[in-house]
Symmetry: C2
Subunit: 637 residues, 2 copies
């Protein structure tokens, strides 16, 4: 055999140990006040002004000389001469003589000569005379210049996290720009196949995902991402980009292209321009990771697969950033939670960081492999599985390292897709995570405890729905909640000459994926058609162009027909009409909800079931979907 | 008496009830991908591309026709003809014929005609021949077009919080701009005395604080502030600003100027252009609050005092914004914490929301009154005190509503200011909140349990330091940790003709504030000088210009001398030299640390004490401060 690799991968603990020894420097950047929220002050902030910057009245009333008022009393008011009014925001000079009073507003500057303010409640004014009913002492109701903050006084310490209050203090002393402390993290995506989102996508190209996902992760750690974009998979280009990044940043992350030699290019650049710490961590997906120091700046090459890149970032890099920051949002600290496996995991002794999803504290594996982007959407974090572990039982407690803050759904909804489920989500106020794995997937997801509930529309060979399938599969510990009827049929363009199944033999079909009830229902109809034509079902399938296609959603079927990739699809009236396509009705089917028996006690499931039976649900269903007498019926097995 | 107000203030509960009934609409805004982190998706996101957009190799190896490999085996390899290489990022067309193999990289597009990839480990190449040692089946090691995400497939649901993973998914399908859901909150500051930070400050003017502090608070709630700046305190101007804001925002907040009629102007605008909900809440500082609806948009006038505005915002407005958002960062949800009072509070039956600070879960009052900006710096939140409460005992458990996320310090450090404390903070790695309330403040802060520790430098009448004062004050339950010596003296400009206390009588003094050890030490020296001159101390004080001044910090003293507001100050050599001023040494004093006896068990205090005795502390002290044989000595009382 050829192409064997003999590189030594280092253990996980050793990678942590080596990375922890790396010093990460900090940078200072100047930000306008309104953008500084959440950052950390880079220096002690000293006020360059007095606050208040003038002797200020803290009451509405009259500015006076305290000496003039000593004789005043409730029964024997003292009379002063009214000489004018001073409002807040008055800019100019006033002078107050003995025996005079000036009306003054809260926040207004005290006139020269005055040294106290009598509250308005303790006075009465008639034309040019002000009666004072209570004496005031020197300084009473005056906030003197600099008494709150004196020029030269330190108002905030370095390393203080800037919250709304600090923003308030900084604005009060007139600061427009603030020096904040941050860790600048340079982010470089490598790969000739990468295109920036928003640009057109040539065949053979994919959109750059890591630049954006890693930047967001860096922000979630409270550091500052600096994006260097996409760099060609070539040593000179890589070196130039990394060279610039290590001069401008405190930490540099590259994420590898998926091309053959990419890991080696990154390794070469570090080896030639700096010092290598390690090359490869002995855990899936750590094998391509390379770490080193260039110009005193830690430089780390991550895998190209986005879920792997985020996993390695969260396991090895995020803790470094957190540790290097004296102050950071403590609410972000708890990025590891303990939770219980909702299903067994067959790990077959493969040491790995396995992407997992979480629903109500229960954990299920979410890895679809091969760099699937949908893994990113479904994985809330990852768990570490050791090389000694062959199988982890459902119910085992595991530590989950989260990908940032998790917005946990109320229910994990598997099975067949239906627009009715979106309406249920809207009406119930619940948040679903939907795994469209078809009706077959729904049966196994619920029976293995993987999901709480699944939508199913699976006919048996005689066209009976769901119940007979549950019996045939001998499922126990499940409950069927009868749902509603859906109208299924052919979906064609408006100008199509297809008017029924008889017309589709010489057309291009877009079929649904295997395991969906809709595909099974089409098969049932195609079998009848084959019988009618006197041909075998297998022959019919072989002669039908596109029979082997497998669109994962009804919407994808509609799009394929609409855009001419196919001439005919099979699916829901609702979706056809929403897409502006012609619908040829073939039959009605029963769409039901399969629920784990023990999940029936969950408030979320109870809410959902009462929603299914509600009038508002019935009223909100689109054409092609309708409730009937069995809707909401509960059948135990 | 005149000017009595007869307005009916509504109870707190009623204000909550009325505000909760207000519908707050949401807005949609389009953001570039890199700015969307933390927002909520405003719509279901459907992919407009297939992912991958081409049949893609998931291995490094050889693209082949599966049919060609069926006979391959480990011992009898099958030979194919090598016809070229395809790298990731290759854009163009290749065709593979029967009997051919093309080298292909992970991520590269499968050539037409090929339907499988043999892993490189299962091959050996010699020139134009490729030996295959293992058969592959159709589709093996190929990720087919759209199998991850199909064009038209929904990839993310409306209302999903956008984290790093979602950013990854959105970039993978090429989205450049994202519609996010948000609540736009218009923010208007009113008051003729307001100036925008960064501009020069005329006498009588203050910087606008509320625009920035409220914007930051709105951001902390996950909503979007829209700043309308400063509006003149005049009905027409206010109406125009509010009218524009209610058209562009979902909620409008004004914060009142402090001028007499401001609350009434806001009230009038709401009354005339909309519907008033209430005017005044019966709790300090809720009296000026006015709420109503204009154009269906809730419009609320807050107090002008920044701490009051933030208090009312957090008590009444933040919950409305949180409740109105389906999804928001759950870590921000816990804005109320339970904590224990570290000191008794004399509330005298005044119903109020009292600003408080927090240190290690202990709560102490932080209100300095009269709109002090320093309250903002020290208050972490507020507690509600009912009208029935006269006094709350130390140790009582209270609910604190936080001003956003709190960055709790390790120690509350009261007493005299010293640059040595900053060095201790730096070396110990601890985070202090420093209340510079002078040595006198330090004695009372520690003895009442208000603070853990205080810096003190208080001479008695014979010039003995600290210990005699503790004995005189009969303090128990305290411990004195001996600190270091500080050199105190006169601070003058370099060109000054002052060379000792004898020269200051006809000069302008900048004195420290009452209660500081430094002021007491100057008094001691002035008394000796008065004795020498044969005059009374009182006469000396009266004849010394500026004796009654009260700079709160050493730095403020230095600045006053430097800028010519005063000719001489009294303070530390360290500070004088740092400010480039001339220092005339008068005496050395003992700066010690007073600690609560029960705080001695705290890890933080232990760390601090060992830091005081450490060599690195001694080495890092600036000139004018020095350790001596008693440094670190612990004296119990």
């Amino acid at each position: 055999m050829a192409h064997k690799e003999f590189r030594t991968l280092i253990p996980v603990d050793e990678a942590h140990r080596l990375l922890k020894q790396i010093p990460i420097n900090h940078s200072t950047k100047s930000l306008p006040l309104e953008e500084a929220l959440g950052y950390t002050l880079a220096e002690h902030v000293v006020s360059s002004i007095d606050v208040p910057s003038f002797d200020k009245s803290i009451m509405d009333g009259y500015a006076v000389r305290a000496d003039d008022t000593y004789q005043a009393g409730e029964t024997n008011p003292l009379t002063l001469c009214f000489t004018g009014s001073i409002d807040a925001g008055f800019v100019g000079d006033f002078y107050l003589n003995k025996g005079e009073a000036m009306s003054i507003a809260t926040g207004a500057p005290i006139p020269y000569g005055a040294d106290a303010v009598v509250k308005v409640e303790d006075t009465k004014r008639a034309n040019s005379k002000v009666s004072v009913y209570r004496p005031v002492h020197t300084g009473e109701n005056i906030m003197s210049r600099g008494s709150d903050i004196m020029r030269g006084e330190q108002v905030l310490c370095r390393n203080t996290r800037i919250g709304s209050r600090e923003i308030g203090v900084l604005s009060a002393i007139g600061k427009r720009y603030i020096d904040v402390d941050t860790i600048k993290v340079g982010i470089i995506s490598t790969g000739n196949e990468l295109t920036t989102p928003g640009n057109p996508l040539d065949k053979g190209m994919i959109y750059d995902t890591n630049s954006y996902a890693l930047s967001a992760s860096v922000k979630e750690c409270g550091a500052t991402p600096v994006m260097y974009g996409i760099v060609e998979d070539e040593e000179k280009a890589m070196f130039n980009a990394i060279n610039r990044a290590v001069q401008e940043c405190n930490l540099v992350l590259t994420s590898g292209s998926t091309s053959a030699g990419a890991g080696d290019i990154m390794y070469k650049v570090i080896e030639e321009k700096g010092r290598t710490l390690f090359h490869g961590i002995n855990i899936k997906p750590g094998k391509p990771v390379v770490a080193g120091m260039i110009n005193g700046v830690p430089t780390i090459g991550l895998p190209g697969n986005p879920t792997s890149a985020l996993t390695i970032f969260n396991e090895f890099i995020a803790p470094l950033i957190h540790n290097s920051q004296d102050t950071f949002d403590s609410t972000k600290d708890e990025l590891t939670v303990t939770a219980v496996l909702g299903t067994g995991i067959n790990s077959q002794g493969r040491q790995q960081l396995l992407p997992v999803g979480m629903v109500r504290g229960k954990v299920y594996p979410a890895d679809k492999g091969s760099g699937a982007i949908t893994t990113l959407a479904d994985a809330d974090g990852f768990i570490e599985i050791s090389a000694e572990t062959e199988y982890i039982e459902s119910g085992t407690s595991v530590n989950v390292t989260l990908f940032g803050n998790v917005d946990e759904p109320d229910l994990l909804f598997a099975g067949g897709y239906c627009p009715g489920i979106e309406i249920l989500e809207e009406l119930s106020g619940l948040k679903f995570r939907v795994l469209n794995n078809g009706s077959s997937g729904g049966f196994s997801s619920v029976s293995t405890g993987f999901s709480d509930i699944a939508g199913i529309n699976m006919p048996d060979d005689s066209g009976n729905y769901n119940i007979s399938m549950i019996e045939k599969m001998k499922l126990s510990d499940v409950v069927l909640v009868k749902g509603y009827k859906r109208e299924q049929g052919l979906i064609v363009r408006q100008n199509s000459d297809i008017s029924g199944i008889d017309d589709i033999l010489d057309k291009r079909l877009i079929n649904r994926n295997r395991g969906t009830g809709t595909r099974s229902l089409l098969d049932l109809n195609l079998k009848q058609f084959a019988d009618k034509m006197g041909m075998s079902f297998n022959n019919l399938k072989e002669s039908l162009a596109g029979y082997n296609s497998g669109a994962k959603t009804h919407l994808a079927v509609c799009n394929a027909v609409k855009e001419g990739f196919a001439d005919v699809g099979f699916g829901l009236r609702t979706m056809a009409e929403n897409s502006g396509l012609k619908f040829i009705s073939i039959c009605e089917e029963e769409f039901d909800f399969l629920v784990q028996k023990e999940a029936m006690d969950l408030t979320e499931i109870k809410t959902l079931i009462s929603c299914i039976s509600s009038k508002s649900f019935a009223d909100n269903l689109p054409s092609g979907i309708s409730v009937y007498e069995r809707t909401g019926e509960i059948i135990e097995f």
